[in-house]
């Protein structure tokens, strides 16, 4: 696989050299840098995948940087045979509900903040911006106390509520900056037609702010899907375990069975990997949502 890419890169540079011969010599330096970083960034991921295909006995004897000598899917089937499906569905539940709530409440608030400008909305907006400065870890102890008092400890809802709270500031920020850029005339035209706020939101803002919404959805999906601290502190039973916590427990369970751990690691990231394969551009711009420039 990597050999293909390298040969394609070489073909590309040769092509490039023909087109712009003057720049040819200078290209060696960035090219070398690019290849070195390619190896650094990609090799651990390749190792993860390669090891997940090795039978345990081969793991101790195989040369680690070569492809597995007897590739097998048995690690995947043994991971799937444990409660992996349950953990996966728990994570899907938490992620879908959290992201849905984040998007709905952030959109409502962002609409109000960007369309109705007065001291109150400015205050609310500033309050949300303060949230970007708070390290999530600093609130975990009180969140634990609140969760116990609400009788939500050790439930999936205990994970959803704080995840939503910490998703809101950035989502509001991204949506507000986007909605503010929608031309005034469009809003005025709808107001003259006698449209209320709800209709303006549905017929004008919702379709026009789709790129910002996609950004928010992708960013928050990755955040919630990969979140570890909330599950670690707020849950303990197996039946409410989510994937990052399950991985951590797999490690305790399979200490020496590295191939099985690698299979679990790879499986846990499959939805995000699929997202990357089918929507790379959106995923990447979603990742730097609100941070760019």
């Amino acid at each position: 696989m990597s050999a293909d890419i390298v040969s394609q890169q070489i073909a590309d540079t040769q092509h490039q050299n023909q087109r712009a011969p003057r720049r040819g010599w200078w290209e060696i330096l960035p090219f070398t840098f690019g290849i070195i970083w390619f190896l650094i960034a990609f090799f651990p991921v390749l190792y993860m995948f390669g090891t997940s295909l090795r039978p345990l006995s081969d793991y101790f004897t195989d040369i680690p940087w070569l492809p597995p000598s007897h590739p097998t899917l048995e690690n995947y089937s043994s991971v799937l045979a444990s409660d992996f499906g349950l953990y996966f569905m728990n994570t899907v539940f938490v992620t879908v509900f959290s992201v849905l709530l984040i998007v709905i409440v952030s959109l409502l608030s962002a609409y109000a903040i960007s369309r109705i400008r007065n001291r109150v909305t400015q205050f609310i907006f500033n309050l949300f911006l303060v949230g970007l400065a708070i390290p999530l870890q600093a609130t975990i102890i009180p969140i634990y106390a609140i969760t116990i008092n609400l009788h939500l400890y050790d439930s999936l809802y205990a994970l959803i509520l704080p995840s939503v709270a910490f998703g809101i500031p950035l989502s509001v920020l991204v949506l507000v900056t986007y909605i503010r850029d929608i031309p005034r005339e469009l809003f005025e035209a709808m107001l003259i037609d006698g449209a209320g706020h709800f209709r303006i939101l549905r017929a004008l803002v919702l379709p026009l702010s789709r790129p910002a919404l996609t950004t928010v959805i992708i960013y928050e999906t990755i955040q919630v899907w990969n979140g570890f601290l909330f599950p670690l502190v707020l849950t303990q039973s197996t039946n409410v375990r989510v994937l990052p916590l399950a991985l951590w427990n797999f490690q305790g369970q399979y200490t020496t069975n590295v191939p099985a751990i690698m299979a679990a690691v790879f499986l846990s990231a499959t939805p995000i990997i699929l997202l990357y394969i089918f929507g790379r551009r959106q995923l990447l711009s979603g990742l730097v949502a609100g941070f760019s420039k």
Partner: protein, 304 residues
């Protein structure tokens, strides 16, 4: 529209603004803002996390002053910040500029650069623990094969080494993210600047130092802000790879807070550390706010 109806409309709109922000505010206040105040309250109590908290006044705060483990974890956290910045900034910048180039092989390589971003910190931690395994890990096997057995080490078990090894993993995980910021920044530099300088006879190195670098000024500030505030949140990776050890060698502040409050059940003292952490974060953000302003950080990534 008369003046009185206009005020009536704006007053009604004012209420709508509050009403529509209410659901978001409720979540946010209950689980992000109010917890900060509860943390301050809990820092004046003794609590094991199960029974009722008991008020002990300033006892925890006085204990903080003579606690060398916390002092050590503060120093480690500042080291995380400095090392992250020194290592990540130049590599991410070069990588971002590299990816912004038009050559097609660069686009092909970029696809692989972002893979570390897809995995959770737990997944990354476990992968690197396997890579660094003293007996069967790739790193030591490779060193032994090329005849450098002397360099093969128990990477995460060596108190003098573990911290720097975890820093390597952190940089590996976050350089793709920051290079993405620089890629967006570099794509927004007007092409005319390069064309004009080519006419003036500037080489590529000169272009990099006199056009690219100055034009990326705001990206550097944003990325620096995120590296510094982000350094306060590295918990998962340390917990998964070293658990804070060996000894206290990798016990950074957020990890120290977690271990104190939960496994050690000293929630009151853990809350002191949480307050310190929050203050650290807020002060840091305000320092950077003076340079940037949040609104400037908010524009969309257009080039991508």
């Amino acid at each position: 529209m008369s003046a009185s109806t206009r005020t009536a409309v704006s007053r009604r709109d004012g209420w709508i603004a509050v009403l529509w922000s209410l659901p978001a505010l409720a979540f946010y206040l209950l689980f992000a803002i109010i917890p900060l105040f509860i943390a301050v309250y809990l820092s004046f109590t003794n609590w094991n996390g199960l029974s009722q908290p008991t008020w002990v006044g300033l006892q925890n705060w006085i204990a903080l002053l003579s606690d060398s483990v916390t002092g050590n974890s503060l120093i480690l956290t500042i080291e995380v910040m400095l090392i992250s910045w020194i290592v990540q900034t130049p590599i991410s910048l070069l990588l971002g500029v590299f990816m912004a180039g038009t050559q097609r092989y660069r686009a092909v390589l970029s696809v692989f650069y972002f893979l570390p971003l897809l995995f959770s910190a737990v997944a990354i931690g476990l992968t690197w623990v396997a890579l660094l395994d003293p007996n069967f890990g790739l790193v030591n096997t490779l060193l032994k094969t090329i005849g450098l057995s002397a360099l093969a080490k128990g990477w995460l078990g060596d108190p003098g080494l573990a911290f720097f090894v975890v820093m390597v993993i952190i940089c590996w995980q976050f350089i793709p993210f920051h290079s993405l910021l620089y890629l967006g920044g570099a794509r927004q530099i007007p092409r005319e600047l390069y064309e004009a300088s080519t006419i003036d006879g500037a080489g590529r190195l000169q272009q990099f130092f006199f056009i690219t670098l100055p034009q990326l000024k705001y990206t550097v500030i944003t990325s620096t802000t995120l590296i510094c505030t982000g350094s306060l949140t590295y918990f998962d990776l340390f917990w998964v790879t070293t658990g804070g050890g060996p000894g206290y060698a990798t016990r950074v502040l957020p990890l120290h807070m977690y271990i104190t409050a939960f496994p050690n059940q000293a929630v009151g003292y853990g809350s002191v550390l949480a307050v310190v952490l929050a203050l650290f974060g807020v002060v840091l953000s305000f320092v950077f706010l003076r340079f940037t302003g949040f609104t400037r950080m908010s524009s969309q990534l257009e080039g991508l």
